[in-house]
């Protein structure tokens, strides 16, 4: 058995597809940590210092993880760019505002007839560029002030984890890509219809939007002193055909990934839903450039076979398991993933925990990984 590594050393080894001392463990907890300290979601969300307080409590209570959460989330809700997440454009119902302080944020997916972005906006983008979509239409002065206060708070928290605790941050910035942004801004139904009705125009629009998003995402990452950025697929694997994926998604995804990596960032590729039949496409992402989050719907053993020499795998436990499951089920699933995917390194066990996840079930995932996952 090799000597115990720091979390930074361990995660670096996994990302480089080498075997460290053990399999990585990094729950994506977010509001789960607020629940552990009985903090309202509103308090957790609005102040990175409170986020860090709750996360650090959970981190210590579980005996440590291999990645830290830093409270950048609110900055993404406050993004001034129409990057697919911002409450300045989208109809988010946030705790302490439209919702109870203890409720989680909820996106009101606007009716097909009432999209944030209209068909005419495509012409605006083509004529004037992506920045002409910036409107702050739902923002108030208070939100702009809040945004200005967030960046300076997140940076020192991230530094604390990296430098003092030797734990890398999980995600501290976002990276928008055209499909994700346009699907949110137009609404998924309108967007899918647009792809069918005017494919060539959509490619032109996406080309312009892609350049704008790269510029904005890199600037935001710099403001947040980020090191790891989240890049989503922007659409679910079973939403569109492989032919449409090749035409409308993959080229822009690859372009964004290369831009982030060339600028020195690590990426969390966040790919929800079932990617099993489309895993081979992900070989086009820069190798060893981060870690690939797959939820329980993708066959992670198949992913290991296809991508084991290309990207570190992350996640794969079903979130609902941590509310409705048993300790035996959690242990069994963690062991299955380790048995199928740990060889050669490149595996970090995780789940996107819901706020109502049970401590003992999360702890079973953490402790099983730490003991059963030793190389």
């Amino acid at each position: 058995m090799m000597a115990e590594m720091t979390a930074i050393e361990r995660v670096d080894k996994h990302i480089n597809l080498e075997e460290p001392d053990r399999v990585g463990i990094a729950p994506m907890g977010e509001f789960y940590y607020a629940q552990l300290v009985n903090m309202s979601i509103a308090d957790f969300l609005m102040d990175p210092a409170r986020t860090d307080e709750a996360f650090e409590y959970g981190f210590k209570k579980h005996g440590g993880f291999d990645m830290a959460e830093t409270g950048f989330l609110m900055a993404s809700y406050m993004s001034p760019a129409p990057d697919g997440f911002s409450t300045f454009y989208l109809d988010w119902h946030l705790p302490g505002r439209e919702r109870d302080p203890y409720a989680i944020p909820n996106l009101n997916e606007r009716a097909k007839e009432d999209p944030v972005m209209t068909e005419k906006d495509y012409d605006v983008v083509l004529k004037h560029g992506f920045h002409r979509l910036f409107s702050f239409r739902r923002a108030g002065v208070a939100d702009l002030g809040l945004l200005a206060s967030l960046g300076p708070k997140v940076g020192p928290i991230a530094r604390k984890w990296w430098e003092e605790y030797q734990v890398p941050t999980m995600i501290d910035g976002g990276f928008g890509q055209p499909v994700g942004v346009l699907a949110r801004m137009r609404g998924i139904t309108n967007f899918l219809l647009d792809l069918r009705r005017r494919p060539e125009k959509m490619l032109e629009v996406m080309d312009v939007v892609c350049d704008g998003l790269i510029a904005y995402s890199l600037n935001q990452a710099e403001m947040l002193h980020a090191r790891t950025l989240i890049l989503g697929a922007g659409t679910a694997a079973d939403f569109i055909s492989p032919q449409m994926f090749e035409k409308f998604v993959l080229p822009f995804l690859v372009r964004c990934a290369h831009a982030a990596v060339e600028a020195g960032y690590r990426l969390q590729y966040h790919f929800d839903t079932n990617w099993t039949p489309m895993l081979h496409y992900l070989k086009e992402l820069p190798p060893r450039s981060g870690y690939l989050h797959l939820d329980e719907r993708t066959d992670i053993v198949a992913a290991k076979k296809v991508l084991g020499d290309h990207l570190c795998l992350f996640g794969n436990l079903k979130p609902a398991l941590f509310r409705f499951g048993t300790e035996e089920e959690v242990e069994r699933r963690v062991k299955e993933i380790i048995d199928g995917c740990a060889a050669g390194g490149g595996l970090i066990i995780s789940a996107e925990l819901t706020a109502d996840s049970r401590f003992e079930l999360v702890d079973k995932m953490v402790q099983t990984t730490k003991t059963y996952g030793v190389y």
Binding site: E109, L195, R197, I240, P319
Partner: protein, 211 residues
């Protein structure tokens, strides 16, 4: 007409379908026959989706073309006094606290095409409103949608209210959403579940057959 209209819909040729519907109507063809050809097209699209030949984007496109065609057809259907066959009445909504509705909307489109009279109450619908609507419509199915784990409690509340109203024996409950599974279904006390709109339709049809 009917075969080419069906094929045009399966091929998702939007302009082709709409032109064909207009041309059939102008030629005085029976609106009921036109509707049946379109419904057959939707059935084939659904089957292809079930067989993973088609994707969600295809279902969305086909449902949109069907909706546009119905707007053209409705006056003629009204004139012919066509009474559409109803195989069940369903009240559906995304439950309280949850605002997600993409999957529900596709499920509703498929259910309507299959012959269900559907009252869709939208998103963030309180349990009492769902049950009140079931009473009002005399519905035999209640559909509950949600993707947040918190939605389980709202779904369970709706089933409980249905029991309190003395309607549970007459009304089948189907739940849908990405995280739902067998255990979730048991905890809610529902009769069927699905995380996929097309599979959900098959389960809905099976439910009504035994109801």
């Amino acid at each position: 007409m009917s075969e080419s209209l069906t094929t045009l819909l399966v091929d998702m040729d939007e302009n082709g379908v709409l032109e064909e519907v207009k041309s059939c109507l102008a030629a005085g063809e029976n609106a009921q026959d036109i509707l049946e050809a379109l419904s057959e097209g939707m059935n084939i699209v659904g089957e292809k989706y079930g067989a993973k030949e088609y994707f969600l984007a295809d279902l969305v496109m086909a449902a949109e073309i069907f909706k546009e065609s119905m707007e053209l057809l409705e006056p003629a259907l009204a004139e012919e006094k066509v009474e559409q066959k109803i195989c069940g009445k369903m009240v559906i909504g995304t439950v309280a606290g949850d605002l997600h509705d993409i999957g529900k909307n596709i499920f509703v489109a498929l259910a309507r095409n299959a012959g269900f009279a559907v009252t869709d109450l939208g998103i963030d619908v309180p349990a009492n409103r769902l049950v009140d609507q079931v009473k009002k419509d005399g519905a035999n199915v209640l559909g509950l949608s949600g993707i947040l784990t918190f939605s389980l409690d709202s779904m369970a509340d709706a089933v409980e209210l249905l029991k309190e109203a003395g309607l549970r024996d007459q009304v089948k409950v189907i739940i849908g959403g990405l995280p739902v599974d067998e255990r979730w279904c048991e905890l809610v006390g529902a009769d069927a579940f699905s995380d996929d709109a097309y599979e959900g339709l098959q389960k809905l049809l099976a439910l009504v057959e035994v109801a």
